[in-house]
Symmetry: C2
Subunit: 224 residues, 2 copies
């Protein structure tokens, strides 16, 4: 059976870095929700002024965006029929391994709570089953572990194509890589591991739209 | 030019009804966020116990779900190129008219804030432009106002088809109707106005997945 993998790469998902944990906007929110600052998700909606000091700040602190991309991927029949593995690789070089049949909450509050638990305990369980696992891992280590036959990146600056055409060249053990950040392109650490990069629209599509389209076209071929 | 309309029908989006505004779970959250109870969005994540008393409770209080369906629709090239009009019809018979080029926030907190403002003031503006408008309107009134040539519903209990096939029968002034509720089917008030109802998958797809797929297939035809 064909098994497809999706990596949401350089995803803007992390806990508040120690370097800004004492910034007033961070301390204020932590006290409001009764959490330790460095156990909260970094979120531009709350921490914009604190984030100005961070390296690559424009690529970080968008857990809302990662939430949508993950919901998009896990809502597909491909994932529900265990024909798709989903991974998140983060800007801070963590890798999240989603197990089969994970049903993510649509409520952002609940999603954020789960992610905070994952970053703290490195594993999320439901009864005895592991739902997700967090590992320290660079993008190249994740690719090394998956050992795909083909790595396809989707990016606006890729070769002009369409979701339909890209789905046709997907074969067993292909990894599809979509950026989990709000703006910009893959960093060199990621792009050096991607052999083929395609753009599936003339317009700049949101990551969740790219995921919806490519997985749908793959499904059409696989379910034929 | 072909102009397609999407109605997210019986959407689980409303403010807290007066009948449960004094329930402890509602009062507690209102006090926490410093808002009047009846100006907050009804949200099952917080108000589950209060909602048990409500009629059709299982169809209500899921603004997170409506947020995701709206983001899916407004993130498409069809909407961005002004070839798609988007409407939300709510369980409490309000209709929300989205204007062109509305960019909804991905942050749920910001989305909820905008919706609360819309329910309060009936109009959302950015400078002098009206972004959205809320009107008291039953589903049949909304259809009457749009005067479509064809109304197509998408529902798991419709005639078995595919997004590709349904897109082929879309023509000028077609309205596509997708349910904005977590479970169940269209109520009779809605289904009586829908001439053709199709199911585009063997599996129960989330509303946002249905929207992503049908709009993508329409776009493929329209952009050819």
């Amino acid at each position: 059976m064909l098994l497809l993998s999706l990596i949401i790469a350089e995803a803007a998902l992390e806990t508040v870095p120690k370097s800004i944990a004492k910034h007033p906007s961070v301390v204020k929110q932590a006290s409001k929700i009764g959490k330790r600052a460095d156990e909260m998700l970094l979120d531009r909606s709350y921490h914009h002024s604190a984030m100005l000091k961070l390296k690559d700040t424009w690529k970080r602190g968008r857990p809302d965006l990662v939430h949508f991309t993950l919901l998009e991927a896990t809502s597909t029949p491909l994932y529900q029929k265990n024909m798709l593995k989903v991974y998140v690789h983060t800007t801070a070089n963590k890798a999240i391994f989603l197990n089969e049949n994970v049903r993510l909450p649509k409520s952002y509050f609940r999603f954020a709570g789960l992610m905070e638990e994952l970053f703290k305990n490195r594993k999320l369980r439901s009864n005895s089953d592991v739902l997700m696992e967090l590992k320290d891992m660079e993008f190249c280590d994740l690719i090394g572990k998956l050992r795909p036959t083909k790595v396809i990146g989707l990016s606006r600056i890729g070769v002009k194509s369409s979701a339909e055409e890209v789905a046709k060249i997907v074969n067993s053990d292909t990894v599809i890589v979509v950026g989990g950040f709000p703006r910009g392109h893959f960093s060199s650490n990621v792009s050096m591991k991607i052999k083929y990069t395609y753009s599936i629209s003339d317009l700049a599509l949101e990551a969740h739209v790219v995921i919806a389209r490519i997985l749908y076209e793959c499904e059409k071929i696989l379910f034929k």
